[in-house]
Structure formats: structure tokens, C-alpha cells
Symmetry: C2
Subunit: 371 residues, 2 copies
């Protein structure tokens, strides 16, 4: 890395795909779950964006670590951490589950994979859910095993992803429905493939279960991808904001509850499901939550990067903050994700955005996802 | 940040001192506990090193987050997480405490500050101890409150640190003994000051309890520091390796136990102290641990950066790995921290170090700290 960049050390873990990612000239990394996440390949985020919408990309998202919970009390432990009723999840199904603490504060927002009635993976955002699950299990003497298994996700994202995956793993992958998973053969090993991923362009995630095969998997998909104009890629800030995909630590933190995050419909608060934050969330629901995540569209041409929250105001009053923002070359306006006070959260509300460059840009509150 | 560097976002938290650090031309950041840690200021790590040994530096180590545990069961919860007997710690005293899970695996290695009999801070390395402590407390229904308080450490490190601190906060700071803390006045507020820090050059850590005062605190120490040739700084890789200061995630992980980390003397394994990993560590101690952290000195002039572990071999046999390494301009050799197999861990053992640049450098195992 250049002297101005991120220092490399063992603590910030490489992935089974990092060698390939570096060979492809990655232009920077972020750190998620103590692990490298590539941040850009093309000269501009905009070029990455258009390519993702039109072709297919290979993403190293190994940093979405798995927390594996197995044993007789596995379902009980998972349910204990989330307000979402998981009892009707089928084996082979994924479920987006907010995790909360006893105050109803968001701890993470993983995708749950039900591998068997007594075997789950939580595919996590950026916090050590492993330690929370271990703590709860040890504290309550639950009969479970909690580990981080050797699973490294390679995502295939974009409109041509299905054709590419069918070419590589056979036609059967076409029948995997959205947010479901099945297994494919890879050089004599059995690998889990899920239809989904952190974009709205369609695609799959391959949950490789052997780090030593990282380069071989990358190469296999990469070579077949030549016919589909494949490039290396990564979660794209423009596409994710337009699609209303939230990021833990950015749009919401432990200070926020799932109602504020727009996840109220996922929460069972009638007492039929028991979980850590039940009483806290019942109280919040009764009183009404006072802010919620919204989109904001605003004028002014491409602005600075949103490295820290930007105040959103109505007149002199701060009514919220933008936590991620980017110029949309498709919508020809800036798009942002924000937390907005109840008093001003109705779409259409006119606001002013106070950006880091000192410029005040006019805009309005919108529903998510953006059109 | 430059395009090749770390992308900035709210998820990777700024600190109360980041504005000042940027004004001083920081040359890069690392990420610890979802927070920015400055990585270099001078053109070379070597220049930072010599300055740290001769003068005084101001370090933004806010990423050493505090996990605050209060309540009637606070001491019980802290003791549950560590094999070190904390019962004799006095209020005002610090203690280095390995934290382990039920398998005896290292979860973190914080400094414990005993604020009162029912009030502790864990000043943590890079893992979410907050979630482990919450999980244990909720699982076992302990009567405690676990939070991350608004505490941001500004460290003053180097041989002139005591004179500078006395100039700023009064002569009383001179009487704070190593690994003890006391309180000072700062603009009418009461702030905790500890004698210690992540170097062997002497110094203090100021545990600022109000983020809004970050720049004011920085400026106060900075201005008084002009008389002592102060510079901005950060934990220095050369100095830390020479001093044998370990880094969680680099020298050891959840896969290692405290005996392997050379922390056997800190562990009470006779059953008089009850903690999570007691049985596991008793079993390991009985069988004898099979590897331990050692220094390695090796030839060949300044080498490449150690971004991933380097195999340490004797002939064709791998006997360990180096996890952090750097050229020591003072010892005129490379110094590394490593995990070495029992069969070869005696100081003086000749080894070969297989560096990332493909060069094999001869060296030998040493005791820590380096001379």
C-alpha cells in the first residue's frame, strides 16, 4: 500500500481472494470485521456503477463473516437475539434479521441462513456477533456451539450473474429462488450458493468452505466470466444508496432501534416471540419512535465524500443527518441515506443539506429505495 | 484520503482528535475497534522512532475504547472473563488482564482500571468486548450495566512526558506511579490520568470524558509541548517490537491461549479463582502448551513490511511464524515477534525467516523484550 493508505498487518485479515484482488489492481480497502474489503477497481465509482448495472462483477465479500450456531439450543439462541420470528424459516431459506440488545439497540443486521433445524449461520455486518452469541450461550448455559467457520463469500453480482453461474455450476442454479440457497459441486467439494447479495442488480453469493481453494474458485468464475464482460468489483456506494441498502455503523448503530431503521414490519412485538429487547421495543412502539431512516435527494452537482454525518436542516432547526451520500449519474442528483425526525420525515419535505465542504445544498426527503 | 487509501465513512469512527491529527498531516490510518488510529506522521517510521525515544509525542489512541462495567455484580463479571486474580486490585490501580473464552482462547488483552469497588473500565484492544460482556451479563442475569462511555484517550509518550504533564496539569502528576491513575483538573472538569501507555519510553494517558473538549485538550498539551520539542505520534512499530509489546490480532488471536502468549504468570489456575476458561486452561497447563511467543532477530538489512505472517523454519521444518517485524536502526538488525514451537523456543535457536519478498534471512530466537 502507498504511504497514505491503510497499513497492512495480520490483525486486518487478508481473505482467500486478496491475492487475486491485488493482482487486479484494487485501488483501496476498507476494514469490516477485522478483514479487508476492496473499495474500488475502476478509476471512478461511477464507472464501477455502470458496469455493475450492465454486466457482471466478482466481489470479495469474505468480510461478511459467518457466526455458526449449532446444537439443541441453536434456534433458541438465534431467536433470543432477534425480534423477527424465525420459527417459520425453512431449511434452505435466508432471512434478514435485525439483532438487538436488551435496550432494543441494533447490534447487527445479518442474513440468517437456516442450514438445518439445529444449525444456523449469521452472515454478519461489522460487529463481533460471535462474542455476543458466545456470551449469551455461556451466561445462560445453552447447549450450543458458537464458532466462526472457514467460510469466505465470493459474490457474483449484476444482470449477467445468472447466465455466468449457470455456465460455471450448471443450469440448476437458475432454479434457486431469491434469498434461498442450495449446493453446487466445485472440484469435488460441496459449496453453498445463495441467490442474493449486497446490490439490487441480481446475483449470487458463493460461501466457499475452504480457504485454500480461494484462488481456484476466483479463477474458475473469472475465466468463464470473460464471455460476459466480467470485472472485479465491490459493493458500490451509488448503487447501494439508490437501492436503499443500509450499512451497519453508517446508517444506524447501537444507538438506534429497528423501528428507527424502518424494520418495524420485521419485528414481532405482541409477546408471542421472546427475545432480548422485547420489553424495550414494546415501550418504544407504544410511545412511537421519534426518527426513521429516509432518503434525501439534493441539488448541486457532485459533492464531496460524506466521511462524517452531514446535518439536515429546515431553516435553522436540525431535523436529521445524512450518513451516506453520493452523486447519482442516473438520477442526475445527489442521493443520501439519512435519519430524520418524525416531525419532518414525510416524503416531499423540503430540507437543506449542510455538506462537509461548507456548501448548503437544497433537497427533499424521499421514500426508499430511490426511484 | 487519496484514492489508494482507506475510504472514510461514519462506520469507521472519527475521534475527538481527528481534526487536529489531519491538520498535522497524518500520513495514514489503521482501524481499531471501528475507529481511526493514526499510523504515521514523519516521512519514515524510523524518524518517528528516534523522536519518541528522545522527546515527547501526542498520540490519538481513542480507539482503545472503554468497556464500563458497573453495579453490584461488576467485579464478578470482570473476574469471570479473566484468569488473572483481580480481587486484590485497589481503586486507582490498573492491571493487564488477558480475557479468555470457555476454551481458553484469547478474546482481548485490555488494561483494567478499577474506578471503585463496583465500577471498572476495560481499556480494550481490537475486539468487541462490549458484546461479550453484555452477552454474559444478560445470559446469567447479572446485576450490572455495560456500556461504552464517552472516553477518548490522548496519550503523552516519551522521556519528556512527565515534565510536560507537570507543566500542564501541575506537579501532582509526578507522584502517579506506573500503572496507577489519579484525576486532574482540565478547564473545570475532572479527568482521569494514568501513568502508562503503549510504549516503553514512559508517559501518561489522559482519559478525556467529553468528546466536545477534544481539540481544546489537544491544543493545551500541544502548546505547552513546544518547549519540549513535541510532535504528533502514534504507536511505533519499531519501538513496540523492541519493547515486546504484543498486539491482539497480530501476535495472538482467539486461536491462542494465554500460556502461549507468555501470560502464564498472570493466570491463577489452582481453582481459587473461577473464570470462563478455567477447565480448559487447567487441561492445557497439565499437558504443557506447545508454542509460545518469542522474539526473533535476523539479518539482511531493512526488509519488506510484514503484512502477513512469515514462516520461521529450521531446515525444511516450519517451527513458527513471525507476525510483526521491522528493521531496528538501534540494534542494526531486524526484530520480529513470533509464535514458536516448544521444540525450538529456547533463546539462541538458529532459524531462517522466509520473508514476503522471497528472501530467506538467517536469525535466532530471543527472549522478550529485546535488549
Amino acid at each position: 500500500m502507498s504511504s497514505s493508505g491503510l497499513n497492512m498487518s495480520r490483525r486486518i485479515r487478508r481473505t482467500p481472494y486478496t491475492d487475486r484482488v491485488e493482482q487486479h489492481g484494487v485501488r483501496g480497502f476498507s476494514v469490516v470485521n477485522h478483514m479487508l474489503l476492496p473499495k474500488a477497481f475502476q478509476p471512478t465509482v461511477e464507472q464501477d456503477y455502470w458496469h455493475l448495472r450492465e454486466h457482471v462483477q466478482l466481489w470479495d465479500v469474505s468480510c461478511q463473516r459467518q457466526v455458526q450456531i449449532t446444537g439443541p439450543d441453536a434456534a433458541r439462541l438465534v431467536q433470543w437475539m432477534t425480534p423477527r420470528n424465525i420459527s417459520r424459516a425453512r431449511v434452505g431459506q435466508c432471512m434478514y434479521v435485525p439483532l438487538v440488545d436488551d435496550k432494543g439497540g441494533m447490534v447487527n443486521d445479518p442474513v440468517l441462513l437456516k442450514l438445518a433445524d439445529d444449525r444456523f449461520w449469521l452472515s454478519i455486518a461489522d460487529s463481533d456477533v460471535l462474542l455476543l452469541a458466545k456470551g449469551l450461550a455461556l451466561g445462560a448455559k445453552l447447549d450450543v456451539t458458537v464458532v466462526e467457520p472457514d467460510i469466505s463469500i465470493l459474490a457474483v453480482q449484476g444482470p449477467k450473474a445468472e447466465d455466468l453461474m449457470a455456465r460455471v455450476f450448471g443450469e440448476a442454479v437458475r432454479s434457486i429462488r431469491f434469498f434461498n440457497f442450495d449446493y453446487v459441486d466445485f472440484k469435488g467439494t460441496r459449496q453453498l450458493v445463495q441467490r442474493g447479495g449486497y446490490s439490487k442488480q441480481g446475483g449470487f453469493e458463493i460461501y466457499l468452505n475452504d480457504s485454500r481453494m480461494g484462488s481456484a474458485l476466483w479463477d474458475l468464475v473469472w475465466e468463464a466470466g470473460q464471455a460476459f464482460n466480467i470485472t472485479p468489483g465491490c459493493p458500490n456506494l451509488i448503487e447501494r444508496i439508490e437501492g436503499g441498502l443500509l450499512s451497519y455503523g453508517n446508517e444506524f448503530t447501537l444507538e438506534n432501534n429497528p423501528l428507527e431503521c424502518g424494520m418495524g414490519k420485521l419485528c414481532t412485538l405482541d409477546g408471542t416471540v421472546d427475545f432480548l429487547g422485547l420489553k424495550a421495543l414494546q415501550r418504544i412502539a407504544e410511545q412511537g419512535h421519534q426518527r426513521e431512516i429516509r432518503g434525501v435527494m439534493f441539488d448541486g452537482g457532485p459533492g464531496p465524500a460524506c466521511g462524517k454525518p452531514w446535518p439536515v436542516k429546515v431553516g435553522a432547526e436540525q431535523v436529521g443527518q445524512i450518513t451516506s451520500a453520493m452523486w447519482s449519474p442516473r438520477l442526475k442528483r445527489n442521493v443520501g441515506l439519512s435519519m430524520i425526525a418524525r416531525s419532518h420525515w414525510v416524503p416531499g419535505q423540503a430540507v437543506s443539506v449542510h455538506c462537509a465542504d461548507g456548501v448548503i445544498r437544497p433537497g427533499e426527503v424521499c421514500a426508499l429505495p430511490f426511484a
